[in-house]
């Protein structure tokens, strides 16, 4: 057995970077949606207003993941 090659990985390290970049927004979007569901359950009549705010929150949080996706194309 070749000792130098026990576990070789090939590919681009940027993939791991994007994986890390996706963790934060993933948790963030989860929090936004869960809190919205909670609030709608408490006050169903506000559902439409809360949903608009939820989409805004998701859009802002998700932007981080998308910046992560765009970075390799610009900086690699």
């Amino acid at each position: 057995m070749d000792v130098n090659n026990i576990a070789e990985l090939s590919g681009n390290i940027a993939v791991v970077g994007y994986g890390l970049a996706a963790i934060g927004p993933g948790i963030g979007v989860g929090l936004v949606v869960s809190k919205t569901i909670e609030s709608i359950a408490r006050q169903p009549e506000l559902a439409s207003k809360l949903q608009v705010t939820m989409w805004l929150g998701i859009a802002f949080t998700e932007a981080l993941a998308l910046i992560g996706l765009a970075t390799p194309f610009i900086f690699v």
Binding site: V52, W55, A63, L66, I67, P72, F73, I74, V76
Partner: protein, 279 residues
């Protein structure tokens, strides 16, 4: 940028040449140029799709508005199915986005712009899942950048028109912050309001479309690979990837609608924040 592109191209060629599975790359979005190579008006598949969508939208809205006019003139109270479709979709932007965020008066002022943005983005996005077109017109950054620039100019115009120079001072020096903190707060506010807003608008749209298209290509090229090139038991995986590809196609319909909605909603909210009286 060019570095990344050439790297990806080499990788794709290397994989394709040994008869194995060829993964989709960023080259998907730079197809072969068809006409006017080397000039500013290079036509390729994506540009042709954009022109097609533009024509389709113009024809559709021309038909709708002539229908509205005709039924208004002849006092027809019950709309036809085609007219109802137009009324529902136009009313969606008008009631659920413009009036809800901006109120009746300002909502009507900015309605033409918001309607244009919404239907243009929706039309351009939806080509991503239409058979034989199969790529979204918004999946290359040019069009989203134009739309984000329009939104940027509009919300600054709205703010400056209403508050004059106070719009900038109120945004850069928010009230209720101790004077010493302005050293920290002002650069952050400048970055988030005047730089990150348009950049994220454009990036969000493009990156969603790019990611969606790559997912679809990945699913269906994997299906092709498993069915025709894999051996024995592995052929079964093809069925799985095919089902996933179908599910993602349905998901893409949702995403294209959602991105059009989010883009329009954010533009509206930026206008609303610029018009708000509290500063």
């Amino acid at each position: 940028m060019i570095n990344a592109l050439s790297l990806l191209t080499q990788a794709a060629y290397a994989e394709a040449s040994d008869g194995g599975f060829s993964a989709p790359s960023i080259d998907e979005f730079y197809p072969q140029v068809i006409a006017f190579q080397g000039t500013w008006f290079e036509l390729d598949r994506i540009m042709l799709i954009r022109l097609l969508v533009m024509t389709a939208l113009i024809v559709l809205f021309w038909l709708w508005s002539s229908k509205f006019k005709k039924s208004y003139k002849n006092n027809i109270l019950v709309p036809s199915r085609f007219q109802l479709m137009g009324e529902i979709s136009l009313n969606f932007v008008r009631k659920n986005i413009a009036h809800e965020q901006l109120g009746e008066k300002d909502g009507e002022r900015f309605l033409p712009l918001l309607t244009t943005i919404f239907f243009l983005i929706l039309g351009m996005n939806i080509t991503g899942i239409i058979p034989f077109l199969n790529i979204a017109g918004t999946s290359r950054i040019g069009l989203p950048v134009v739309l984000a620039a329009v939104a940027y100019v509009t919300f600054i115009y709205a703010g400056v028109r209403k508050h004059r120079m106070k719009f900038f001072t109120a945004n850069l020096f928010p009230a209720g912050v101790p004077k010493a903190f302005y050293v920290l707060v002002t650069p952050i506010e400048f970055l988030s309001t005047f730089i990150l807003r348009p950049v994220t608008l454009a990036l969000r749209l493009t990156m969603n479309m790019i990611a969606g298209h790559l997912l679809l290509v990945l699913c269906f090229s994997a299906t092709q690979f498993f069915f025709f090139n894999a051996e024995g038991f592995f052929k079964l995986f093809g069925a799985g990837t095919f089902v996933f590809g179908f599910a993602f196609t349905v998901f893409e319909i949702l995403v294209s609608f959602l991105q059009a909605y989010v883009f329009t909603l954010l533009t509206t909210v930026y206008i609303q924040l610029a018009l708000a009286d509290e500063h």
